[in-house]
């Protein structure tokens, strides 16, 4: 019944081309709002945020011929749900080889949902230094915020039901570029 995953229940809401266009637009928006690349840094949230950050870096390099410092942040140790879950999330580590003091840090993630991941990322960032400001890029904003967090740049706004699942698939990790919505699988 509800535990069967019917093929017709999965909807593709962004294909490879749509993703690419959205990211190109976002790259331009970042440059516009920050008036260029000075003091800009991209930090991707593990793991798909990292790939998106790398793509933005490449696009910005193509537009402005400048390479922006890009880093990886792992928010596992800052999550607020570790004691509740039976999972044991793997810690793969933060890799930021540059100082973030006084930088305009652009956090990058694939999906914005409750906002708790971003809250954790902000806490992690603060422990690393004092950025001038923090901005947020998400590929998909699916609503249902539980905390007062808002994105600065959005690839696509996607109204969803709470019991749906939004999955971003990327070439680097999943072999193809696609954003799909599916009903949540029964545990």
């Amino acid at each position: 019944m509800a535990s069967e995953r019917q093929v017709h229940d999965i909807r593709v809401v962004m294909d490879a081309q749509a993703i690419d266009r959205a990211l190109t637009r976002v790259a331009h928006e970042i440059l516009e709002r920050n008036k260029g690349t000075r003091d800009l840094a991209l930090i991707g949230i593990r793991s798909r945020g990292v790939y998106i950050a790398e793509r933005l870096r490449a696009k910005i390099r193509a537009i402005e011929a400048t390479d922006i410092p890009t880093g990886i942040i792992d928010i596992t140790l800052y999550r607020d749900d570790l004691s509740r879950s039976h999972q044991q999330p793997e810690v793969r580590g933060t890799q930021i080889s540059f100082g973030i003091d006084d930088k305009r840090v652009v956090l990058v993630d694939d999906v914005l949902f409750t906002g708790r991941t971003i809250r954790a990322a902000l806490d992690a960032l603060i422990d690393l230094g004092r950025p001038r400001n923090v901005q947020l890029v998400v590929l998909v904003d699916r609503g249902h915020r539980e905390l007062p967090i808002r994105p600065d740049y959005v690839g696509k706004n996607l109204p969803t039901a709470v019991d749906e699942s939004v999955q971003v698939q990327l070439q680097e990790s999943d072999g193809r570029d696609e954003v799909v919505i599916a009903p949540v699988e029964e545990d």
């Binding site: 509800a2 004691s83 039976h86 999972q87 793997e90 993630d109 949902f113 422990d127 019991d163 545990d187």
Partner: protein, 334 residues
């Protein structure tokens, strides 16, 4: 779940995947100790108790720093402060502590099997910080991490372990793990400290030069001077003549050999001063890695939900983009 054990009692019996997972997790914690703010909130509100029946400044301090960097509260009990001096048994001490609901107990004890004894009787996770001659898992993990950082792998390496293997818990933990991970071992010492059963764990030899020939790593074990009275070797002088790691002996190993020592060193007994202070020695790295390893172990063990009825089989796959599990969803009607 990559590491499904409630306790860390030893490295024997851990699979290759589990050991690799422990090392990988520890690796990702090294970064925290290099920052300005050397703290993450992960174990905030958790209480970690260390119960040390044997004196140890470094291991205890290392655990303490690790716990505090995870934002945990740390309570340290040593045998002089604990009620052991009043005749309280290990079991009663542990029961009293357990009633205070710690999130982990770190135990160091002179009796092999003491952590197992507690693990069988208490609810909370037990971390073995050294039980008699049996195991010292976090020490071995930090040794392995240090080696892996430098050599990029563990399997296929030739690793020489020199000294009192018979009485060494550090040696045992390292031997168990290295055999699982596919390293090739040489075990070196006087015959009195090399029982025949050791041959199942590696090549044994009484010749230091032969043992370290072409080795990638040399691990020196402490000689506990109190062994002298028991006829394992006649004098420290005689022991060091044959087994002290000098420049001359090191020359038989590979040119990029790494030298490890669990500390504290007996300079001139196990290891010549110029070797200890020389370029092959990685003793400072071991200390840093020790904290990372202990942070990782605390992270993996002290985070258990209290009400969990040990349903390790019930692990959902790690979901990258979902930070918090939503409340249990109802079936859709129809």
């Amino acid at each position: 779940m990559p590491f499904a054990h409630r306790h860390l009692l030893g490295l024997e019996g851990l699979s290759r995947d589990e050991l690799t997972f422990l090392l990988d997790t520890a690796r990702s914690f090294t970064e925290i100790s290099e920052r300005d703010i050397k703290k993450v909130p992960t174990l905030r509100g958790k209480t970690v108790v260390s119960l040390f029946y044997e004196a140890s400044t470094r291991t205890r301090a290392s655990f303490e720093i690790a716990a505090k960097r995870m934002s945990a509260d740390f309570v340290s009990l040593t045998s002089s402060t604990s009620s052991a001096t009043k005749g309280e048994t290990l079991l009663d001490t542990a029961r009293n502590l357990a009633a205070m609901r710690p999130d982990a107990i770190i135990l160091r004890h002179a009796a092999a099997g003491a952590p197992h004894f507690l693990a069988a009787r208490l609810e909370c996770p037990i971390i073995n910080a050294g039980d008699g001659a049996h195991e010292h898992p976090t020490q071995a993990l930090l040794d392995l991490l240090t080696i892996r950082e430098r050599k990029r792998r563990l399997d296929g390496l030739t690793i020489a372990i020199v000294g009192d293997i018979l009485h060494s818990r550090v040696a045992r933990s390292n031997i168990f793990a290295l055999n699982t991970l596919g390293a090739s071992l040489r075990l070196i010492g006087p015959p009195t400290l090399l029982p025949p059963e050791l041959r199942a764990w590696g090549e044994t030899t009484t010749s230091l030069d032969e043992g370290v020939r072409d080795a990638d790593v040399i691990m020196m074990l402490r000689i506990q001077l109190e062994r002298q009275g028991k006829n394992f070797f006649p004098t420290v002088d005689e022991y060091s003549r044959y087994f002290c790691l000098t420049q001359r002996a090191v020359a038989h190993a590979k040119p990029d050999v790494m030298i490890l020592h669990p500390g504290p060193m007996n300079r001139g007994v196990e290891i010549a001063s110029d070797v200890a202070d020389g370029p092959y020695s990685v003793i400072m790295d071991q200390v840093t890695n020790g904290i990372a390893v202990r942070m990782a172990v605390l992270y993996l063990l002290a985070n258990r939900p209290k009400l969990e009825a040990e349903s390790d089989t019930e692990s959902a796959a790690v979901q990258d983009q979902v930070p918090a599990p939503a409340p249990r969803l109802r079936r859709r009607a129809g």
